[in-house]
Structure formats: C-alpha cells, structure tokens
Symmetry: C4
Subunit: 480 residues, 4 copies
Amino acid sequence: MSSWTLEQVAQHKSPESCWVIIHNKVYDDHPGGAEIILKYAGRDATVVYDPIHPPDALDKNLPPTKHLGPIDSKAADVIAKERSSLALTKDEIRVEEARKRMPPLRRILNLTDMEKVAEQILSHKAFAYYSSASDDEITNIENARAFTRYFFKARVMRPVAHCDPSTKILGFKSSIPVFVSGAALAKLGHPDGEVNITKGCFKEGIIQMVSSNASLSPATIIDAAHKSQTLFFQLYKHRNDEIAEKRVREIERLGYKAIFLTVDAIVPGNRERDVRSPWILEEQESGPLYHVETDNDMLKEDVNIFGTAGALVANDDRDMTWEKTIPWLRRLSKLPIVIKGVQCVEDAVLAAEAQVDGILLSNHGGRQLEYSLPPLEVLYSIRQQRPDVFERLEVYVDGGVRRGTDVIKAICLGAKAVGLGRPFLYAQSAYGADGVVKIIQILKREITTAMRLLGASTVEDLHPDMIQRVDWQAYIRPKL
Amino acid sequence: MSSWTLEQVAQHKSPESCWVIIHNKVYDDHPGGAEIILKYAGRDATVVYDPIHPPDALDKNLPPTKHLGPIDSKAADVIAKERSSLALTKDEIRVEEARKRMPPLRRILNLTDMEKVAEQILSHKAFAYYSSASDDEITNIENARAFTRYFFKARVMRPVAHCDPSTKILGFKSSIPVFVSGAALAKLGHPDGEVNITKGCFKEGIIQMVSSNASLSPATIIDAAHKSQTLFFQLYKHRNDEIAEKRVREIERLGYKAIFLTVDAIVPGNRERDVRSPWILEEQESGPLYHVETDNDMLKEDVNIFGTAGALVANDDRDMTWEKTIPWLRRLSKLPIVIKGVQCVEDAVLAAEAQVDGILLSNHGGRQLEYSLPPLEVLYSIRQQRPDVFERLEVYVDGGVRRGTDVIKAICLGAKAVGLGRPFLYAQSAYGADGVVKIIQILKREITTAMRLLGASTVEDLHPDMIQRVDWQAYIRPKL
Amino acid sequence: MSSWTLEQVAQHKSPESCWVIIHNKVYDDHPGGAEIILKYAGRDATVVYDPIHPPDALDKNLPPTKHLGPIDSKAADVIAKERSSLALTKDEIRVEEARKRMPPLRRILNLTDMEKVAEQILSHKAFAYYSSASDDEITNIENARAFTRYFFKARVMRPVAHCDPSTKILGFKSSIPVFVSGAALAKLGHPDGEVNITKGCFKEGIIQMVSSNASLSPATIIDAAHKSQTLFFQLYKHRNDEIAEKRVREIERLGYKAIFLTVDAIVPGNRERDVRSPWILEEQESGPLYHVETDNDMLKEDVNIFGTAGALVANDDRDMTWEKTIPWLRRLSKLPIVIKGVQCVEDAVLAAEAQVDGILLSNHGGRQLEYSLPPLEVLYSIRQQRPDVFERLEVYVDGGVRRGTDVIKAICLGAKAVGLGRPFLYAQSAYGADGVVKIIQILKREITTAMRLLGASTVEDLHPDMIQRVDWQAYIRPKL
Amino acid sequence: MSSWTLEQVAQHKSPESCWVIIHNKVYDDHPGGAEIILKYAGRDATVVYDPIHPPDALDKNLPPTKHLGPIDSKAADVIAKERSSLALTKDEIRVEEARKRMPPLRRILNLTDMEKVAEQILSHKAFAYYSSASDDEITNIENARAFTRYFFKARVMRPVAHCDPSTKILGFKSSIPVFVSGAALAKLGHPDGEVNITKGCFKEGIIQMVSSNASLSPATIIDAAHKSQTLFFQLYKHRNDEIAEKRVREIERLGYKAIFLTVDAIVPGNRERDVRSPWILEEQESGPLYHVETDNDMLKEDVNIFGTAGALVANDDRDMTWEKTIPWLRRLSKLPIVIKGVQCVEDAVLAAEAQVDGILLSNHGGRQLEYSLPPLEVLYSIRQQRPDVFERLEVYVDGGVRRGTDVIKAICLGAKAVGLGRPFLYAQSAYGADGVVKIIQILKREITTAMRLLGASTVEDLHPDMIQRVDWQAYIRPKL
C-alpha cells in the first residue's frame, strides 16, 4: 500500500468519492453520514474526529477495504505545520484564561458550584453538547423542578449516631445509592475522557454505567478499572442484529456486569442549543451570516458536524419490542437486563411482565422527547398505582438530581438507586478524576446528613411515609 | 366620464361629500366607515388602502355610481412625484436595515426563531396588527401556556422505524395534521400576500383556510393554487343575507372545499397594541402629543386607520343562531360546514346537534374575548365530559401552537387537526413562500420525531392515554 | 371677639394649650388627635388642613367655645407673604412638569393608562395615600389577581346586535353595573375634589357612593349633583350614637338614597407606603435622617400628619353588632341599608338574617386587614355554598376591578353591581370631571364588547354557567 | 505556674500539641475540634474566640490540667500592640460607615425594615451566620411562604373596642402570643449579646428562650433578667449523660422555667452561605484564590473557623429516643419539657403519648434538614388529622414569622404561641435592647390591629374557622 499526497486526497471531496485523513491515514467514507463528512472531505479531519470517537472506532466500523493507507511524509509535515500555526479561536482563548482561574477543588461545595466552573472552562461546543436538551429544554428543567414538590416528614428521637448510606444495585455493592448514568463524549471536556469517571468511581465505591457513545472504547475503559470494580454497560442496540450481538458478547466478555438497554433514544432529540453552537462560534470569529436570496440555499439544512446526536444513533434499532427484543437479549447473555428510558407506569408494568431485572425511569435528561413526564413523577405514580412493581424488579431514576435530598426522596418512594450524568461530565472536565471523587464525596456527605436529620440510619429506613407531595411549587432560589 | 383635477377632489372632504383617489381613480364614499376615510378625504389614499384590500374590493363593494372616473394626467403626475419624494420614516429605515440582516432561512430552527425575524423586519404597524390580542393579551398568552400543563406518557419498545404523520381533514389529505388557520392581511408583511401561503402549502401538502379578510380576493388566491390543491374558506357572514349568499355561492363556484363560519368575531376585539401603533410611529417622527384642555378634544376618540379590526367586521351578522343560520347555509351550499370559534363544551354539543361537519375550537388567537378559555382546555373538557362529540363531527383546535409536541397533544386528546395562523404570516413576511415551506418542514420534522419517541407510527396511534394533565405549571424558559 | 397677633398664637404650642390658625382664624385644639396637631401648634396650619377636611368641618366638629376668632391683619399679611415666598419643593416641581406632559385624554385606552398618568402628576403624598394598602400590600394585589383565575365559557350563535348593559341598584337605574365606591380625599388630587366624580357620574348615568371622609361635605357634593341624580352615602358610624344619629338624619334630609355602613375600618389599617411618604419628601429636600442615640428619641413613634388613616377613623364605633346597630339604624332612617365590608360567607348569611338590603363584599381595597380573602373569592364561595343569599339581598363587590371583563365575571357569579374607587380618584386628579367620564366610557365599551362576545344581550343573560374557575394562575403580563 | 513567652507557645502548633492564647492565658487543646484550632495554634486566638463563646466556657469545658497559665508581660505587650496596629479590613470599614447611617429607630415600621438595617450594619460573617440556611435555602423561604397560602375569613360587627392580645405559655404570662426562639451567638452582632434580648423582653413582657449556644452563659443571662421575668432554656443534650445531667440541674437551679429539648439539630445543617463567608472576606482583602494542581490540596476540605454550626453540635446526643430520653429528663427535673423540632403529625402524636408538656413545630428556621415541611403546614395537618393533640399538650410554631398576621394565623390553627429568632438577633445587633423592644412593640401593634379587624377581642376568640387555606400562592411583593 503506497502513501498518498495531499493533492490526491483533495480530489475525493464529492458525495461519490469522499476521503478523509485522520491521524495521517486516509479513509474512504465515514460511518456517521455523508453530509457531515463532506465538510471535511478531501482533507485532514483529525481535530473534529478525535473527541467523539474511540481510537479503535475506524478499525472496528470500517471494513479493511476502506483503509486506504498513510499519507506521505510531506503531507504529514504540511498538516502538522498547519495545525501548529493555527491561531487560537476566541473561544479557545477564553477557555485557556478560564482554566487558569479555576477555584481550588476544596471550595466546591455542591454540584451547582461544579457546573458553574464547567460552564467557564468548557469549550462552547462541549458545554452546548453536555447541557443541551430538547426543544425549549422544558423537560430538562421540569426534571429538576419535580423534586421541589416533594417535602420530608422528618422523624426525630431516633438513634442515628451510626448511619450507613450504602446499598446494593443488582446485587453489587455501592457506597451510596447513586450511580453514573451513561455520560458520553467525555473527551470533549478532558483528554482522559470517561476513564476519569472510572477512576473516581472506584475510589469512592460507586458504579459507572458506560455508554455505547463513550469517546473511549468499552475495552479501554474497563482496562482502566480496578479488577474488583463493577461497571455496567449502556447498550444502544444496532438495527443489524448481528452487529448488535457482536457488541453484547464483547461487553459480557470484557466483564461488564449488567446491560442497560436504551429505549428512549431511537431517533435523535431536537437539541437546538447544540445545533446552534457552531454558528455562534462562527459568528465570534467572522461575524453573523446574512441571508442571500438564491434558489439553492433557501431550504437546505445547515450542516453541522458536532451539533447533532444524529450520528450517534443513526443506526439504532427503531423496531424493538418487548416480545422480540428482550428474549433475543436473554438468549445472548446471562447479564442482568435493565430497560433504560421507561417513562410511564404502563411500561414499568410491561417491563415487570417481560421479567427484566430492572428499569431506569428516565427521559434521557430531557434530551429526547420534550414534555416527557419527569421521572420522579413517574416513580411517584408507580408508588401510587402499582407498588407491586417495586417487588418485581429494581427501579432506578435519573434526571434532575443535584442534591443528596433529591437522592433520598427517590429512595423513599421506592427507587433502589439514582443515576446522575451531567454532573460527572462537568466534574471530570474541570478537575479530571479528582473532580469525580469530589462529586461523590459531596453527595455522600449530603445524603448522610439528610438521612440522620430524617431519622434514618440505613437506606432501608427510608420509607414512603417520610415523603409528602405538596400542592405548591417550591420556590427556586436564584443561584447563591 | 371626464377626468378630475386635484382641486376638484379636494373640495370633497366632508362627511357629507367624501371622495378619495385610489390608483388614480376617484371614488365617492368608502365601505369601511366614515371616520376612517375622513382622514384621507379629498386626496390620494392608495398607500393606506392597498395592503388591507383585495384589488377588486372597490369594484365588488362600491356600486358603479360611486366610481367617478380617473384623475387627469397632471394630478397623476403630482401624486407620483409626491410619493417618490417622500422621505422614509424612521420605521421604514429600521425595516430596510433589518431586512438586510435577516439570517439564512436554513438557520431558522423553530417557529419562535421565525417570529423573532419577523419582529425585526416587519413595519411597526404590521407587527402590531399581527401580534396584537385583546385587552392585556392574557388569553393569547394562556392559549400557549395551556400546552405546558399537558405532559406525555411516552411508550417505548414499539416499532416506529416507519412513521407516517399524514391525515385527512374533512376527507382531504394533509401531509401532517396541521392547516393554516385564517391568517389575513398578509400584504401588510409581503407584497405577494396570501399567495405565498398558498404556494408553500401546496409544496408541502397541507391545506390553507383563506380568510374573508385576506388582502387578496378569494379568486386571486385560488387562481394561484395548483388545481389539485385543497383550500378552505373562512366566512365572515354579512348581516345582509343576500350579500352573504352571493359570497357563499362565489366561494363554492371558485372551488373552495369547505366553509369555516366564523362566530367569535361578530364585534371587534379590543386590541390595544394595534390601536397604539400609529401613535407610536407619530411619536417617533414628531415627538409625543400632549394634552391641551379644550372642550372639543377632551373625549373624542382618537381615530386610526389601520389600528382596528373594526372596519373588517363592521358589517358582520351579529344575530346568527344555530336554528336559523346553519339551515340557511346548508340550503345555499353542499360544502362541508365547520363552526370556527367554539369556546365551550356546551356549544360543541349544540354544533353536533346542528349536524355541522366540524368545529374549530378557537378564541381567535386571543384577539376577541379576553379570558375565553384556552382551546386546548376546552378540548380536554370535551374529552372528559362529552367524548361522544368526537364521534359526531371533526374537532380542530387553534391558538398557541408553536411546536410539533403541541400538535401531538391536541391530536392525542381527540383533535383531527390543528390550525396555526400567525407563524405563517410571520414566515411569508420574512421569506415569502419559502418561509411558509420552512414552517411546515419544521413542524413535520418535530411531529415525526415526537411521534416516534412517543411510540406512535401513525396519527391513529395517538391516544388520550398518552397524555397526562399535570397539576403544576410548566416553567416557561426565557427565549434561548 | 378681638383679633390675635402671631405672637399670641405662638405661645400656645404645648399639649396643654394648643392653638392653630386656619384660614386666618384661630382655633383651640383639633379633632384629629393631639400628636398630629402639635407639629403645627402655635402657627398657621391651613396648607395641611385644607385637602383633607370639608370647609365646614371645624364649624361642625368644634364647639363654639373653641373658635377663638380672627388673627389681626398684620398677622394675615405675614402668613400670606410667607406662603407666596415659599419655594416650590422638588416634588411640587416634578408635578408641575409632569402635568404639562399629560397625554390627550382620547389616548387613554384603559384604566391602567389612567393610573399611569395619575402616578406621574399626583404629589407623592397624594399618590401614596391613594395607592397605599396594608402591610405588604398583598391583599391589594390578590384582589386583582383573583379575577385572573376566572375564565369565560363564551357562547356563540346568540343574537347580540342589540346589547344593553344597564341595570338597577337598589331600584335605581345605572347605565352599567358599576358604581363609584367610597373614594375619599379627592381634593388631594384635584381642587374640585369629589364634585368631579359627581359630575362625571351624572353625565354617564352611574351612581356615586360618597364617603364620610370626603374632602367636601355631603351637602356640598349633593348640591353639585343634578336633581335627578342618585347618590349613596358611605357611613362611618361615630362611637357617640347621638353624633351618629345627627349624621344619618342629615344624609337622608340631603337626599342621599342609601346608606352603606362601613364595618371593615373600625381601626386604621397599617398603610406603610402612606406613613413613609413625608419621610421620603423630607429626604428629597434635606437628605436622609440618621440615628442619634439619645434616650428620648429611641422609641418615640414618628408623627406624620397625612400618613395615617388614623385620624379619619379615630372616633368610629368599634362595638357595632348585628343585634344592636342594624335596628338602631332602621329606626333612624327609611333609607336602604347596605353593609360595606363583608368578608366571608358566614357574615353574608348574618346580613341576610339581619334583613339589610344589600352587602358590599369588600376588604376596603386591601387597605385594612392584610390577607382578608379577595372579594371575588368570597362571592364565588357564596355562589357555591349559600346561593340563597342572592335571593335575599343584593350583593355587590369591590376591589381589584380594572376591566370590563372583571365586572362581567362578578355579575355572572351573582353580583348585582361592582364598585371601583381608586380609578375614579386617579381620573379626577388628572383630568377632572372629564377623566371620570372617560373611565365610565371605557368600562361601558369594554363591558358591551365582552357581553356580546360572551353571547349576552342583557345583564340578566350573565349566568354562573358562563364562568369557569381554573386551577392555574393566569399570567400577569408586564404593563404594555 | 510560670508565665509563657510567645516563642514557647509558638512551638505548639501541631495536631499533636496545640496551644492557644486567649485573653493572655495559654490553653492546651480546644473543645471545638482539632482542625479549626490548628489555624490559630501557637498564637493568640482571642479575637475569633470571643464572639462565639461565653466567658466561662473554657473554665467549664477544659479540665484544669489544660489551663497552662498566663503569658508573660512582654508577650502581652506584643499581642496588644499587634491588635491595635491591625488595619481595619474592608468589611470592618464598611460596617463602621453603615453604622453611622442607621435610620432612627422610630422609622422602623416592620420586621423587614429591621432586617434591612441589620444587613447593612452587621459584619459579613455575622450576617452570613444569622441569615444562612441549609443547602439552597428553600426550606427557609418556604417557611415564610407557607403563611401566604392562609387567608382570613374576617368577621365584622363584633365588639372589639377592648382587645387583649395577652396569653399564657406553660402557665407563664406573655403580653402577646410570641416568644424569642433560641437565637444564639448574639455577640456576633452586639457586644452585650443575648442580654439585650433579655432586657427587651422584660420591658415588653414576653418570654425569652435561651440557647445552649448563646454567646453568654445561662447564668450571665439570667443574672441580667428581672427577678419576676420568665426565661426558658433551649437544651442541646450532650452525648455524655453525666455532662447533660449537670447542665439540666444547673438550668433548674438558675431559675429557668422550662426546658426546650432540641431534637432537630443532632448533626449540623449544610449552611453554605455561612461556610463561604470567610472566603468572600479573604477575596475582598487579597483577591480570589486559584486552583493549583498538587496532590495534597485537591480533596482536602477548606477549614473555616466560624462557618460551621459543626463545632456547636459536635458533642450532641445522636441517639435520643422517646422511650429513653424523656423519662431520663423527667427524673432529673420537675421543669416542663417541650420538644423543639417536631416536623410531622406522627411525631406530634408520639410527643403527646410521651406526655411532654409541649412541642415546638420547627425545622430550625430552615437551617437543618432542607425540604422539611414548613411548620405552619405541619400545624395545619395536625389540625386536620389529629386535633386531639391540641388538647394533650401545648403546640408552638416557629420559622418564617414576620408579621402580626402570621402570628394570628398560627394561633387560629391551634398554636398556643409563636417563636421568632432571627428578627431579635437583627434588632439587638443594630439597636441593642431598644431594638428588641421595638420588634415587640411592632408585633403588638400589628397583632392588635389584625385581631380587631378579624373580629377577635382575645386570643381565645381566634378560631380555625377564621382561616381558609387557598389553592393559589399569594404573590410576594418585592420589598417596598
């Protein structure tokens, strides 16, 4: 296999023949979708490829015939020189400055503090991706607001000198009833990516659920884990059953301990903040783009390369059913199965009937269906209407959790554990694995304090009678 | 018939004898009301006449004896010169600048984006007319807010790879369950007027309901339509049954496919934003007007020529009844009859008993009776109290719809389709027919995404059980 | 009786002997309370006395022995000179400027417009007195907000070409179901005082209820009325039954047509905005006052002369009862009796049992008991719990009414008419009697429009079924 | 015992051997916790020790062997000189200026006025400590907001000329149904500390509950009281029963009349505003602190000396129970026992069954468990579900009370009296004992006014029927 010149590659920038250079190798086509790749067709695309793909993604997803071989050394020199001579963008300069002014980690008092730091030090693109939610982001906000309608009926005069917040999730020990819920594309925020979370979780004894869309491969992540550490896997099922099967078998072989089958993201949500991000950056550099009336630009969609969750779910199975998919998965693997993305009582019952091991009540952090009910409200409805579900499988909740009291409310209502996503992404972006440790320590302190003040010395003491749903909306204090 | 000099015309500027020049022709009287015309009596009124009247309005509404013939060529020269030498007003300059800075259409992500562009590029007068609503505009706001009290109980594990959002309205095919609801005076925003909407609807396969108050005649509009295209007509019934009959027969003859009889606008609503518009423009040019205590100006109403919906409905029938008006209309025409402006369950039942073909639950976009219930709430009440109504006629809803999820909520509760008005006016004002296409494309994308995430592959799958009315008010996020 | 020198008067400025000069006459003591008068003791007090007392108040309330006779001409000269040489205060200059910039009356579209003008052109003192309410002014705000929880179920297809909003109140004709509710101290805003209201009411055919605390005497006001005009009287019963009886007999003799016995203001409300007003004015002139630690100023209350409603109700009867007071009043007068200030269903029933002719549901515009229920809510509770009350007496409502739709909601729920106070004070302050006419014309237009759009052609058509109490709080739009 | 040099003391600044100088005496160790003291180890700590400890605290809590004796005179000179040469901090300068601009006490109209003055004149540290509450301070806000959901059904035509707001609490007379609820660390705001409150309470005839955490000893406070004055004691039970017993016996011997056993503060709440206070002061002086990545500072908690309530409750008993603790206390003392910190109906019933004399419904002013129900809501629930509790013991409420109407609402619902804490701290900080008198006078005036307008002449007339819980949230007016 010979090496390529830049001129040769540059001739392949049409939909018909579309080559890109990544890490000095030439590839034909791109798994994400023709439109996205066309913007970088015929030239080096490393800088946009890296943060959203595991290093082994091309090897795994592109057939060998698409691997066209290396560029020549002159081309490599040109590319290297271009990259080094590239002036920093305004956003990069802003980030560089902000990173110098990060507060000491020991002054981060709560998860909102961490989010504020992350907002400062993340690139516009990364923060837009992490923070964005569907449409008007109402579901995202309501997920958190739901917690403000649940108050405690605290019990006094109960012995709580000893207080143990630990629990088991699918039989695996967790130091607090909290796990990391499928936070993906961690390399957008920190070069070490998801491994920061893995290390932090081990140190503090909680479980990480690794996403199919992680920016590192499942193998890389589990390699970074301690051998005694529990990791779960968040599966996006490929529409091709054979590819899906291969993935499931790999996961089990690697040592993941459970499969969280994602069912609420079969098509991408409409995350406008994310879509707009490149336009805002472009405006910062070159000023706003104005409308020119020509026939061909009028109705063409603006293409953006990072904005969409589209590429990530493009090949997902949109025809899963309880009857077909669960038995298929059971046949493939002995791992416990949890359905991630249950959004109403009726489906919680169907899941129990399908005899899965657990359900994660979730609307994907408000990133998929706008106006999906807040998971805490779904949990409450299950408690009111079908409490038998809690006897038949484990129920988890994610979305909007930011305080130890939030966790405890969910546990009181019957959840076995609670997932958090964004806070871990923010923490690792700013402070790496130490940030992740900090988040868990904060939650542990908040949970223990609240349990004691509530009169509970173990998670088993947390009971629906300790919760009162109120008929007023708690006031949301502007940030301190 | 001789031609007139400017001096001759100028002598007729009293209530007793009131002439105006329009497109170089002289007319005696004016159908809209004496007060309005007096401001322009005895001189050229073309510039204020044009945007709110169909070109053939004078021919149709004024008897031949009122057509006094042309002005002479010298007069025509003077008028032309005056118009060309007219300095632009501050508002016209603002609009001219804003039109240069319009974003590319492909960067319009949602209907609010479109409204924001329209607010920039429309004349103050036009935006005031389009956006205004009654009194304190509470009904207008509540129409939209009502949607935030309805959440989805999304279903997962249902096959939705194939998803078809099309439906039929009165038996006519529509690519999505959306139609254009009586948006009038389109020429205030774009010289092509309502025809922009006609063209856009054809391209995307939805139905336009044309208003009696359109700035183009029903004939002009249907002439611009494709011969296979479905158009409905929004009828404001004239108090004179003969004139009304003539209009109905014309509509049927022209090929309109249904009559939407408007019953919520028999008198004009109190649209203060619209009324204040000329004063604000006057202040921009000449500074504020102060009070001088003289007997004769104290209690005289300020006259304004565009501000009121008054002229538009001045001759409407205020004595319509179920017993009299429906049979009268049935006798005249075989077209399906829909009552536009039903505002409570009781009248929905009366409509069913009167055997009309459909009802449009509407409070005229909050432009008529302040504190009329939001149509979505009326729809919900019908679902709760009289679900039999849905079996007896087709139910539509308009008012406050801005997102695909809004559409789907109404369909879940039993609506056959949903109407939108202002978004189409805004879109055509900014981008002509392409803007209209864009609006429909956005809705189509949003509807399809939401249907899939909700577990529905056809509109028939949308079911009341997928909706939960919540006891909290969803947070309205400040615009992104 | 000799005349006094300024020096002689100046010696009487102690609590033991306290003289004041008013309109060049010397008086011993003052009916309002020792503290207030002490500030002006021994000198001329005309300027603070005038706006809050009828001209005949001293003659009526002070025994002849307290009338000490005129000052001498030299003293009169000195006082006149002092007054003319007095520099305008900053607040007076502000008012003078603002009055020049008042908008033409014909551009006042609604009652809020009028309030905004009044806020500009009233002295700080007058606006503070008119607008103030108790404690945190929550009741005042809630009175108005209550209307936003009641929506219309509008009826269509009903003949409303003819629409008559007139009604009868205690058998007296009123052009709309609205009356002026006890607005007092009108001279604070306009030299003609309450007579402005009298004239405006006559012109537009509604009834004025005149307050005991009017800045003009009942005789002066009724003298200014047309002989066919109906006026009611708002009675604050004196604790001395003989003085009270004298007042009742005077009222009946003068020709007032009904007595509204005020029962919600037996002690003054805590109107802080009013109390603070003189301090703010003092700060404007001389800068803020700082604390100096001396024994004698620490806990002494700050005296202010206009701030309190205290003086106005100092002698009111605090021991009225249903058993004693109603029969006493019946014996004295044949006039219809209405109880003003009923605040709950239970007292509405007691009033019916006491066989009075009407009740005015009112919390005194939020100026007395903070957290008293909004009158509209009390009306709704009567409708729900004791609709028989409406058969037994006439029920009126005041507090928070600003729109024609507010009036109609109350009428639908069973009120016979609705009172407004502050809007009339604001209107007469800015534009005199014409302002009052304007307010009534606006309400008439708004009421007629809303009746027609609601499907009602007379007030008898307004029915509880047209109202729906909603479970959400309507959004209050920031002022246009 | 010899005297120490500064050099000798300076050698003891390690966790192993940690000395401090306080008022020129040397001590080994510190009762508050090793971390806090280490910051001042080996040197003078008087300035941070004084405001939060009673003068006799060291004598009482440190065994004699830890009292190492005085420093030498040279050391005393150096310390005195250092202190006098210390430049004022920015915060101290701000406070000094603000204290000069305090308004005269007679212009303080309500408790919010007082809070606003206190916010100006308190050190950042003191205001942070007084005002802070848990987590996002939602419970603190909701405590006050709860009152806005309860409206009055005021009764008219009842004799109220005579009105007596006095009551008895545990048999002890109180001029109004209000007491001072455990306000501690008063010396942070005023050098005289809690004694200001003692004096003010005596003057106005209400009862002070003295906190275990007062900055003066129980003996000092009761010494300052009038011999006829009633004081209660708020007990934080030490985990060591013997120490606790000693404290109880001392309290009874000193003449305190009741024991309020605190059960809602067994661990410190998470008061972030308080924790951040020293950081903010540090930033004011030296600029912000930035993150430097070194292994040892990453996850170490920031130590702060005043921030936490931690030290105050470090030795409290976390294993109290109804079965064990109440009988223990009964055996020790004949004083009435009140449980402070009951937060739900169930525990109110348990308290009645444990035959204590009273309960104080309280969530510690929102300073402990975030999302604990507002005490007023708990009171309302007891009234609805278990009204028998009111027959079995006295019920008090604290948290969020700021107006006389708040007090009356609680009394109507069954409370015997209402506690306030922060307002008294603010008042004494700004104006000493006079400030405390003022607060009580304001409440007395507000309570009497509201009782009269409500139709009640004694507290026995205040009845549940006078209260209506409403289904809307009252509007909170921005501060006047």
